[in-house]
Symmetry: C2
Subunit: 344 residues, 2 copies
Amino acid sequence: DDLTLLAERPHRRLNPLSGEWVLVSPHRAKRPWQGQVEKPAVAARPAYDPTCYLCPGNARAGGHRNPDYTGTFVFDNDFAALVPGGDDVLVNDGDLLVAHAEPGRCRVVCFSPRHDQSLPDLPLADVRRVVDVWADEYLALGSDPQVAHVQIFENKGEAMGASNPHPHGQIWAQRTVPMHVARELDRQRAHHARHGRTLLGDYLALELARGERVVVANDHFVALVPFWAVWPFETLVVSRRAVPHVAALDDAERDALADVLGRLTRRYDRLFDVSFPYSAGLHQAPTDGAAYPEWHLHLHFYPPLLRSATVRKFLVGYEMLGEPQRDLTPETAAERLRALSDAP
Amino acid sequence: DDLTLLAERPHRRLNPLSGEWVLVSPHRAKRPWQGQVEKPAVAARPAYDPTCYLCPGNARAGGHRNPDYTGTFVFDNDFAALVPGGDDVLVNDGDLLVAHAEPGRCRVVCFSPRHDQSLPDLPLADVRRVVDVWADEYLALGSDPQVAHVQIFENKGEAMGASNPHPHGQIWAQRTVPMHVARELDRQRAHHARHGRTLLGDYLALELARGERVVVANDHFVALVPFWAVWPFETLVVSRRAVPHVAALDDAERDALADVLGRLTRRYDRLFDVSFPYSAGLHQAPTDGAAYPEWHLHLHFYPPLLRSATVRKFLVGYEMLGEPQRDLTPETAAERLRALSDAP
Ligand SMILES: O=P(O)(O)O[C@H]1O[C@H](CO)[C@@H](O)[C@H](O)[C@H]1O
Ligand SMILES: O=P(O)(O)O[C@H]1O[C@H](CO)[C@@H](O)[C@H](O)[C@H]1O
């Protein structure tokens, strides 16, 4: 079909979830690279690192000390970008200087006491425990009347700005729905108003029928390279049932999410034989108390590596000024991820 | 005023040019950093590098050889992301799989034969020559009926994905107005329709009256840290006269642009005593032949460094999923850049 024609020609694709576009240049993957290379994989980490401020029993900033935790461990970020309370300042000079105060809270979630085990290495039951923490934190933080949105995410690896290699994620809760989420909300709402079904539900049905971009699937969740992926091996994890947030998942669905996360990240680690860096996170309904039947729970994985453990994609000049650009098709990326094993 | 209150509290600011928001966390600049550090400044480069595919007389990919150029040198990118012609494919499956072919052209602009001299090092007359090349290329590429937009930009330094250290920029010309430009077009058009003046003209008047974010100014151009800056030392270069593109600048204005570019980039180089990496580029009116009285010529500079030559800002998890976040205020950034010398 027409997609086959596009496999060899520069073209643009639309992200119907955000309204953004990406320029795809399938023929460009072979250009020479004399620029920055990432540091090659570091030596294996110890199970416990006495200098790590996230390991059990160790000291953190400001005189805090971690408990001897054995499962997950959640605490308020010692260097939070958002803090609760404060005055309700509003600035507006001619609609050109516009600002407002933003109260909120930042949390850190250690996935495991083990300094050396990230999501792909953890037993299924431990990943499931992380899913449960996400659900609990989403509900607890979201119940604060000053919190309209809870952003759960993970920065993994030095290339993605992780400030500590101990497996952990973060949660930023705030009064306003942040920009990228607001864009997805608009588009999901318009689709739901028009069709009476969720945008991602309809999209998932299309993808399952075609199969060409699906990477991992089980009874309740699917991981695929979205048609509009920007990062070389970007994926989207979608629930088969349309639910607005992770706390609405039942027991079997939570297990299934943990299963897909383990299998997807193990494929990632095997792609270039390196602990695969990424930023990833959940996109969930706002927590202002309104109903969001249009919101369909999903996770985005944004991994930077392009050609090897040391050559990444840079989204820079053209991408920052014009629009994102990618060098291999999402179909090729999915095929390569599908070809790998996801066994523990 | 209220802005003083915001200097110490987390808050959000609106970018009226793009409609995007940024979260500002002024108190967060002092958190510890155990993550990735950039490579420290490399040894001085030679004036000529026999292995550089951009130096005069050297061989490039595909059997091409550079002339013995003495000024600027412009050629078609050997690994172009956009290529001319091709079929007019259009895909649309339920508004969910949407794509179209995108013809275009990619050019490379060597700023100087000298391998070791980038914009801050070049004599004024040489920077002026680069400005003239931008104007000529904008007109020439834009005159192709298949080209509705010409994106001129530079990726400088390994941290910003430059694939070769020889001072050069790029030009990507294409049939569609790319996403970020389309957003700015919408906002500039709405402002112009409402006020009969350009958005950036009105914004510049506000900034010149307040002074707190201005970095460099001469008779025809101003460089400032915009109120809504995302990158730590991001700047915006605006023409005092509202013109839609660089080819509309007169002789004195072109000299003035070259002057501001030299002075701004020398301040950057002195900030952390390193050749300052950045992605930068021009935002100009589309080239589809229509009139764009609302478009006001400007350049964006997006530099990644935050605290030193080796510690950069990462726009990752929260920034990719929620919205951009910064750790020092634009006012502080402007003050620090203003305090430096811009002498050659
Ligand atoms: O064209 P270059 O310098 O090889 O490549 C660089 O700039 C391009 C345009 O911003 C990006 O698409 C590439 O990811 C980046 O590495
Ligand atoms: O909170 P961390 O891990 O210290 O910091 C990292 O994640 C944050 C949230 O995405 C970013 O704002 C920082 O730039 C990044 O280095």
